[in-house]
C-alpha cells in the first residue's frame, strides 16, 4: 500500500512557519544570555502569537495583542531592564541553581501534556466566521451584559495596579 503524504494547504504552511517562529523565539527568550536579547525574542514570540490569533480569525485579539503586549508590556520590560542593569555583566550563567530540576520538571510537564493531547480526538474543522464587524460588536456587548462584573473588576484591577505600581516605583 503506497504511503500517502498529505499535502498541506496554504493556511497550514503559514501556520507551520508562524508556529516555528513563535516556538523558536519562545525558546530563545528563556535560554538567551543577554537579558535585552531575551526581551527582543519575547517581542518576536508575541508577534508570532498575534499571527496565530489572526489564523484563528480572532483579529481583534491579534491587534490587541500587538497593542498591549508589544506596545506596552514589552516596552515596560525594557525600561525595567534598563533601571536594574546592575547585574547585566560578570555573571557566567543566566540560570539559577535549580535550573536542572526546572528543566526536568518542564520537560516532564511537556511530555505529559503531549500524552494527554494524543488521548483526545480534537476537532479538525471549525465553522465559518462572519466577515462583518458583528464579532467585535459582540465583544463590546458581552462586556456590558454577560461579563459586566468581570469587566468592572478589570477596571478596578487596573486602578489598583496603577496606584500600587506608582507607590512602589517612585524614587522617593
Amino acid at each position: 500500500m503506497p504511503i500517502e503524504i498529505p499535502i498541506p494547504t496554504v493556511t497550514q504552511v503559514i501556520f507551520l512557519v508562524m508556529a516555528l517562529f513563535t516556538a523558536a523565539c519562545g525558546l530563545m527568550v528563556v535560554i538567551s544570555r543577554n537579558l535585552f536579547h531575551s526581551a527582543l525574542f519575547l517581542v518576536g514570540a508575541l508577534f508570532g502569537v498575534a499571527a496565530i490569533f489572526v489564523l484563528l480569525e480572532a483579529e481583534f485579539l491579534a491587534v490587541g495583542q500587538v497593542l498591549v503586549y508589544i506596545g506596552a508590556i514589552a516596552t515596560l520590560i525594557v525600561f525595567a531592564i534598563m533601571l536594574t542593569r546592575g547585574m547585566m555583566r560578570g555573571r557566567t550563567s543566566p540560570m539559577n541553581h535549580v535550573s536542572g530540576r526546572g528543566a526536568l520538571g518542564a520537560l516532564v510537564f511537556f511530555v505529559a501534556l503531549l500524552a494527554f493531547l494524543k488521548k483526545v480526538p480534537w476537532p479538525e474543522q471549525a465553522q465559518a466566521i462572519p466577515v462583518d464587524e458583528s464579532l467585535i460588536a459582540g465583544l463590546g456587548d458581552k462586556f456590558v451584559t454577560t461579563y459586566v462584573v468581570a469587566f468592572e473588576a478589570v477596571g478596578l484591577l487596573l486602578m489598583v495596579a496603577l496606584i500600587g505600581a506608582v507607590m512602589l516605583a517612585r524614587d522617593r
Binding site: V68, L76, V144, L162, V166, A169
Partner: protein, 118 residues
C-alpha cells in the same frame, strides 16, 4: 477574512524587503575601511566617559506604567464603541464607571507627582 490578512502578510513582506534591499545595496556599493577611530563611540570628538549603558531614573518607568494601563483601558473601550448604538443606557453607566476608575488612578499618580518631569 483570512484573504484580507493575506494582503497584510504580503504587505509585511514587501515593507520589510524595501529597507533590507536598500541597506544591502548600500553595503555592496560603499567602501569598507573601518579603523578604531571611526568605529569608536561618537561623542562629538570627546573621549567617552564611563559606560554607555547608563543607569536610568524611575521616571521613564512611571510614564510607561501609566501608559500601559490606559492602553488596556482603550483596548476594552473599542468594542464597546463599535457596539454602542445597540447597547442599553445601563451600558453607559458601566462604561463610565470603568473610565472613572482609571481616571481615579491617574489622579492618584498626579497627586503623588508621578507625572512630574524634573
Amino acid at each position: 477574512m483570512l484573504t484580507q490578512y493575506a494582503f497584510v502578510l504580503i504587505m509585511v513582506g514587501v515593507a520589510l524587503s524595501v529597507p533590507i534591499l536598500a541597506i544591502l545595496a548600500n553595503y555592496f556599493l560603499s567602501p569598507h575601511k573601518p579603523d578604531p577611530v571611526k568605529t569608536d563611540v561618537y561623542e562629538s570628538g570627546m573621549k567617552t566617559v564611563g559606560d554607555a549603558w547608563v543607569q536610568f531614573r524611575a521616571q521613564y518607568y512611571l510614564i510607561g506604567l501609566v501608559f500601559v494601563l490606559f492602553d488596556v483601558e482603550a483596548l476594552f473601550l473599542f468594542p464597546i464603541a463599535v457596539a454602542y448604538d445597540k447597547l442599553a443606557f445601563f451600558a453607559t453607566m458601566e462604561t463610565i464607571l470603568f473610565i472613572l476608575m482609571l481616571l481615579a488612578g491617574l489622579i492618584y499618580a498626579w497627586r503623588k507627582d508621578a507625572l512630574e518631569w524634573q
